[in-house]
């Protein structure tokens, strides 16, 4: 089969006509679409504190054990301020297993405050 034959066959396709009620069906669907209220958007502004709390929790869960178990890096340059108190505070927190306590507290606060904020937002609107 040559290119010309293919062109002749594929280029000469009969046109089909839409059924008589097609326009009316489409317009009904469009009117329905126009009168349907837009879907309720997720309240990102209200959820932001919760999301941030989750982020912080993840950081605490993963960063603290890693920080406390890894050896201190060799200083590439001299710090102007002394941060040794941070290290000692983290050591004492680790000793007390404060990471888990903080995690529990933050989760509790998040679980309570997130629904409260959602409800307040709904009633405010």
């Amino acid at each position: 089969m040559t290119d010309q034959e293919l062109d002749d066959i594929l280029g000469a396709e009969a046109q089909i006509e839409p059924t008589p009620g097609f326009t009316a069906t489409v317009m009904r669907a469009v009117h329905r679409e126009a009168t349907t209220p837009p879907p309720i958007r997720f309240p990102w502004v209200l959820a932001l504190p919760g999301v941030m709390a989750w982020g912080l929790t993840l950081v605490l869960v993963f960063a603290i054990p890693w920080y406390s178990s890894s050896p201190p890096p060799a200083p590439a340059f001299r710090f102007r301020f002394d941060f040794s108190w941070v290290q000692s505070a983290l050591d004492s927190l680790r000793h007390l297993q404060a990471g888990w306590i903080m995690l529990a507290v933050i989760l509790t606060i998040a679980c309570v405050s997130f629904p409260l904020r959602l409800i307040r937002g709904r009633y405010r609107n």
Binding site: M1, D3, L10, G11, P18, V26, M27, V30, E33
Partner: protein
């Protein structure tokens, strides 16, 4: 003329006059249904797909940047929708054995019928090609062999379309020839 009417109707719809969308539907229903039919070869499904495209167009009307013609935007939207829709549906294509049977079926008294069957078989074979060749060939013939319109509908450069047409035609020819030869050998 149509472009100006499209623009005016779009402006009216955007201002809140939904009934103006009817003008757009009336002008573009036949091309959209026909394009859908070339992708699915099922008349009622073609109308369903075209209706979905009109709804999609209505929702996205604000996104039409008026640098391009409304028809270009609409065809690109439709092409995208049809390709996605048929990708997610089970194949309704004619089996290649059936196609070759139709292509080879002989008899002088049936020449007219045979010719029609052959044409149908070739069209069905286009749908059995890999998607990128199928889309290029389908749109190329839909746009009356206009490479640039095909390229705009698919959102790819014209050179890519030319390459796909060349390869697609080659695949189609090879497929039909190979299967016809195979069938003849089986008959012997």
């Amino acid at each position: 003329m149509s472009a100006r009417e499209d623009q005016a109707d779009v402006q009216r719809v955007l201002r809140g006059d939904i009934s103006a969308f009817e003008g757009i539907v009336k002008r573009w229903q036949a091309p959209l249904v026909n394009l859908a039919y070339r992708f699915c070869r099922d008349r009622s499904r073609a109308e369903e797909l075209a209706q979905e495209v009109f709804l999609k167009a209505y929702r996205a009307l604000r996104d039409w940047r008026q640098e391009a013609a409304f028809s270009t935007w609409l065809f690109a939207l439709a092409t995208n929708h049809y390709r996605t829709a048929i990708r997610s549906e089970p194949s309704r294509f004619v089996a290649i054995e059936r196609m070759t049977e139709l292509v080879t079926r002989g008899g002088d008294a049936y020449d007219g019928l045979r010719e029609r069957d052959r044409d149908q078989s070739v069209r069905a074979a286009v749908l059995a090609l890999p998607a990128k060749y199928r889309d290029a060939l389908t749109l190329f013939y839909f746009h009356e062999m206009d490479v640039s319109a095909t390229a705009r509908s698919l959102g790819v450069p014209e050179g890519t379309i030319k390459a796909r047409l060349l390869r697609g035609r080659g695949l189609l020819r090879a497929k039909l020839t190979r299967d016809v030869t195979g069938l003849r050998l089986e008959e012997v």
